[in-house]
Symmetry: C2
Subunit: 521 residues, 2 copies
C-alpha cells in the first residue's frame, strides 16, 4: 500500500468520507487510490474556490469535515478565499495539497512555490508529510485538528513521493478514537455566574449568540432565559448557520450598516456573549467607531465559540431558574401571505421566499444588498437553516450550497446569490449539474456591485464619477445568467416581475435537482 492509499484509508477511518477535488499531476496517486480504496465520495470542482467553498457548506450542515484535494501552491491559492470564509465560520476542513517530490523541489520547477506559506494565513494547522511512513499519523492529526471545535482548517501537504512510496509495515496507524472530535471545553462556573449576574441586573441586556448557539435547541434555551430575565436575543452578523423559521426562537441578526447596528445596540447596558466576540463593524469608516456597542455597555463572555455552548446555556438557564419556562420569542408561521405580483422589490422577494421556502430547507445567503431585509421578513417561513458568509469574501454561496446539498441530500438547498458575487465561483453550477444536487439558485441581477455604491458614500469618498461608476457596474454588457447556467447543464429561467419570480422559483423548487432563476432587479 502506498502513501496515498494509506491516507485515503486514514480519512475514511476518521469518518472523512467526502473529498472535493481539483487534482493535478502531483495528486495522481491520490486520485488512483480513490479507485483502490472504496468509500470516498469524490466531487469534482472545475475551480478550487468551488472545492473549498463546498467543504465549508458541507461542514456547516454535516457537522463534520470533508477533505479537499488541491494541486500545489496555485491550486491552494485559488481555494484560499473560501477557506478564509470557512475559517471565520468555524468550519473544519482537511485540505490535502499535493507537492512536488521532495528531491524535485530543489530544482525550482515552474510550479514550485512556498505551499506552507500560501496555506498559513487561512489555516489553523499546516504540515508537510515527510514520508509514507508518517502519512497515516499526519493524516490523523489533520483530522483531529479539523474536528476541534468549532472546526479548524487543517492543511496537509503531500509530496508526490510520500504519496507514491510504499508504506512500511511498522508505520503507525492512528486509532479511530484518536481521530474523533475532541470534546468542547465546558465553561467555568464563574462565567455562568457572571452572565447570570448581568442578566439579573435589571438593566437592558442582550444575549448575543454565535456558532452552535444559533441551533434550534440552543436558541430554545436562550428563549427560556429571555422568558426568565426579559433579555433580548440577537445573532452575530457573520452567522455560519442559524436554525430559524416558524416554531423556533427568533434571534434577529445584527445589522450590517454601522449606524443601524449601533442604533440597535445603543440601549443595552449589558451584552452577554455566547459563542461570539464583541460586535465590530465590518469595515472602518472615517469618524465612526469600530466597536458597535455603546462605550458604557458592559460585555460579559459566557462562552467562546469553541466551548460547549449548549451546556453553557443550559447551565445558565438552570442558574436563572429558567429551565422549565416556555421560551420567549418563538416565531409563528405566517400563513396569511400570498405570492405577490408586480415590480420587484426586496419586500416582495422576501414575501415570495416566506411563502415558498420548503420545510427543512437550507438557505445559503449571499444576496448582499438585495437581501438585507430577507432574514427578518422570513421569520415566519417554514423552519429552515440560514447560512451566511462569515468572512466577507464573495463567491461563497454557490459552492457552499453545493457542499450543503452533498451533506444533506434529502433537503432542498436554496442559494440566494448576487450577480457580482456569483461571478466569482460560477463554476459551481457545473458541479451542481454533474452531481444532480437539489439546489435552487436565485441570482439577484442588479448588474452592479450595488453594495459598493453605499460603501463609497459611507467612507466619505463622495458620489462616483464616470470612472468610479465603471468599476461598480456590471451592465456593459449585461450578464445573461440563464445562458450561462444552461451552458453548464442547468435548467434556468429569467424573471423580471414578482409574479414571474414566484412562478419560476416555485417551479425550480418542485424539481429534485439543480435549477437557476435569474431575477432582474
Amino acid at each position: 500500500m502506498n502513501g496515498a492509499e494509506r491516507l485515503v484509508h486514514t480519512l475514511l477511518d476518521g469518518d472523512v468520507d467526502v473529498c472535493f477535488t481539483n487534482p493535478g499531476t502531483s495528486e495522481m496517486h491520490f486520485v488512483a487510490a480513490l479507485d483502490k480504496v472504496p468509500g470516498m465520495r469524490c466531487v469534482l470542482g472545475l475551480f478550487e474556490g468551488v472545492v473549498t467553498g463546498a467543504a465549508d457548506g458541507y461542514y456547516r450542515i454535516a457537522d463534520k469535515p470533508a477533505s479537499t484535494l488541491l494541486h500545489l501552491g496555485p491550486g491552494l491559492a485559488n481555494g484560499l478565499a473560501n477557506l478564509h470564509n470557512a475559517k471565520k465560520a468555524g468550519s473544519g476542513v482537511v485540505n490535502i495539497v499535493g507537492d512536488h517530490a521532495v528531491k524535485h523541489l530543489a530544482l525550482d520547477a515552474p510550479l514550485t512555490s512556498d505551499i506552507a506559506g500560501v496555506a498559513r494565513p487561512m489555516s489553523h494547522w499546516v504540515h508537510s508529510s515527510a514520508s509514507a511512513a508518517d502519512i497515516a499519523k499526519d493524516g490523523g492529526e489533520a483530522i483531529r485538528q479539523a474536528k476541534t471545535a468549532p472546526g479548524r482548517i487543517a492543511t496537509l501537504i503531500l509530496p508526490a513521493d510520500t504519496a507514491w512510496t510504499d508504506v512500511p509495515a511498522e508505520a503507525p496507524v492512528p486509532s479511530r478514537a484518536s481521530m474523533a472530535a475532541p470534546a468542547r471545553p465546558q465553561v467555568p462556573q464563574s462565567a455562568i455566574a457572571d452572565a447570570a449576574r448581568a442578566l439579573r441586573s435589571g438593566e437592558p441586556t442582550l444575549l448575543l449568540l454565535g456558532g452552535v448557539a444559533l441551533r434550534a435547541n440552543a436558541l430554545e434555551t436562550a428563549g427560556r432565559i429571555a422568558a426568565a430575565t426579559g433579555c433580548a436575543l440577537m445573532a452575530e452578523f457573520p452567522a455560519a448557520r442559524q436554525e430559524r423559521g416558524a416554531g423556533r426562537v427568533a434571534a434577529p441578526r445584527m445589522p450590517y450598516v454601522v449606524d443601524v447596528a449601533m442604533n440597535a445596540l445603543k440601549n443595552f447596558k449589558r451584552i452577554v456573549l455566547v459563542g461570539t466576540t464583541r460586535p465590530v463593524g465590518f469595515f472602518a469608516y472615517p469618524g465612526k467607531p469600530g466597536l458597535l456597542a455603546a462605550p458604557d455597555t458592559e460585555l460579559t463572555t459566557l462562552a467562546a465559540v469553541g466551548d460547549d455552548l449548549v451546556g453553557a446555556l443550559q447551565a445558565l438557564a438552570d442558574e436563572l431558574g429558567a429551565a422549565k419556562l416556555a421560551p420567549k420569542g418563538v416565531a409563528q408561521r405566517n400563513t396569511n401571505l400570498s405570492l405577490p405580483e408586480g415590480k420587484v422589490d426586496a419586500e416582495g422577494v422576501a414575501q415570495v421566499l416566506s411563502v415558498l421556502i420548503p420545510e427543512n430547507a437550507i438557505v445559503v445567503d449571499e444576496s448582499v444588498t438585495m437581501g438585507r431585509g430577507f432574514a427578518t421578513s422570513t421569520l415566519g417561513a417554514a423552519p429552515h437553516d440560514w447560512l451566511t458568509s462569515t468572512g466577507g469574501s464573495i463567491g461563497f454561496a454557490l459552492p457552499s450550497a453545493a457542499g450543503a446539498a452533498i451533506a444533506a441530500p434529502d433537503r432542498k438547498v436554496i442559494a440566494l446569490e448576487g450577480d457580482g458575487s456569483g461571478m466569482y465561483t460560477l463554476q459551481s453550477l457545473w458541479t451542481m449539474a454533474r452531481e444532480n444536487l437539489d439546489v435552487t439558485v436565485v441570482i439577484f441581477a442588479n448588474r452592479s456591485y450595488q453594495i459598493l455604491r453605499g460603501e463609497l458614500a459611507g467612507v466619505g469618498a463622495g458620489t462616483p464619477g464616470p470612472r468610479a461608476t465603471d468599476m461598480l457596474t456590471l451592465d456593459r454588457p449585461t450578464i445573461d445568467w440563464v445562458s450561462m447556467a444552461r451552458g453548464m447543464g442547468l435548467d434556468a429561467a429569467r424573471a423580471t416581475t414578482l409574479g414571474e419570480f414566484g412562478t419560476a422559483f416555485a417551479r425550480a423548487l418542485a424539481v429534485k435537482g439543480p435549477a437557476l432563476v435569474e431575477l432582474v432587479v
Copy 2:
C-alpha cells in the same frame, strides 16, 4: 489631496497608467481618486484571477507594469495563481491591495487576514504603507521594484486610513527618474569568454534561450552565432514571450514530456544558458531524473534572465566573429498551405493556425495537450508573438489575452485555450466584451483534463478506474462554451470539423473585437 489620490499621481508619474481592478470597500478612496486624477485606464475584472492574469499579459507585451487593485487578503488570494505565473514569467506587476484602517485591524473584523502573509509567496516585494505621508515614496519603490528586470511582483498594501488621510505638504514625492526601470546588469567578460569557449569546442552545443533572448532581435543574433559555430537553438519550455514565425530565427521550444525532452537534449555535450536556468522536468516521476540534460552535459551560463541579454548575445557574437554573418535558421513563410477539411486533429488545427494567424498577432497559448505540436507547425505562419504559461497554474490564457489586448490595441490577440483551463478564469470573457478587446478565443473542448490521463500513467499510477476517470473528465454535463460566451456578451460559434473551424476562426479574426470559437475535439 488624500493618500489614494497621491498614489494614483505616483503611479502615473511612474508611467503605470493601466489599472486592472476588482475593488471593495477598503479600496473606495482609490476608486474615487480615479475620477479626480485623470490618465489611468481602469479595467474591471469580475474575479481577481482575471485582474492579475491581465496584468501578466499586459507586461509581456507592453514591457512595463500595470497596476492591480485588489480587495484585502481574500481578493489578493484569488489573484495569487496568476501572480505565480507572472512571477515565473518575469512580469512586473504593481499590486495595490487595500487593507482595513490600522485601528480596525485590532478588532479582527470578518475580512481581517494576514495580507502580507498571503502576498509573500507570490511577491518579490511586499510593503504596507503606514501613513499618507509615506504613500508616494512607497508607491515609487513598488514601481521601481516592478520594473527591475526581468520584472518583479511588487505588492503594496494600502490601509484604508492611509488612503483617506490628507497627505502633508512636506511629504516626499519620488522623481520620475527614480521610478524608471533600472538598467539590466551587463554580464562579465568572463561569462562571454566561457560561452565562446563552449561554442568553439567543436562538440554538439545548444544555445538555450529564455526571457527577452526570445525576442526577434536577440534571436537574430543567436542565429548569427549558430551560423558561426553550428550550435543549435532552443527556447525554454516556460517561454513568456517568443517572437517567431516567418522571417524570424526559429528556436524550437523544449518539449514538455520528460522522455521527449531528454531525447532532444541527449546529444548535446554543452548547453549555454541565455536568460534561463538549467532545464528541469515540470514534475517528478518515479524513477526518472528531474534534470533533463544528460549527466555529462556541461552547462555554461552566459546570462541570467534579468541581465542584459541582448548585449550579452551581441558581445558573444562579436567574440565569435559572427556579427556580420547571415543568421541561420530563419523560418520561411509557408505559402503552400490551404485550409484543411475533415476530422479535427492537432495537425489540422495547426494548419488552420498557420494559414490564418494574422501578421503581428499575439498568440496566448494554453491549449495544453491539444497544442503540443502547434508551435512547431506554425513556424511558417506570418510573424507573431507566442506567449505560454510560465508557472503552470491553469487559467492563464484568457486573462493574459485580455491584458495583451489592452497593451497592444492595434494587434490581433488569439487565445488558444483548453476547456479545463478556460473554466478557471472564464470571467475574462466579460472583460473582453466590456472593453471590446480584439481577442479571438479558441476553446479546445476535449471535455476532459486530458493532460492528467497521460500524467496518471506517467507517474506510474496505472489506468484510471471509474472514480479516477470521474475526476479527469468534464463530459457530464458537457460545457456549452457558445452559450456561456454569449451569456457574457461575446459572439460565439461552435465547430466540429476542421472545415467548420477554419470558417469560424476566419470569421472571428475578421471582426475587430472579441469572439469565441468552441472547437469540439
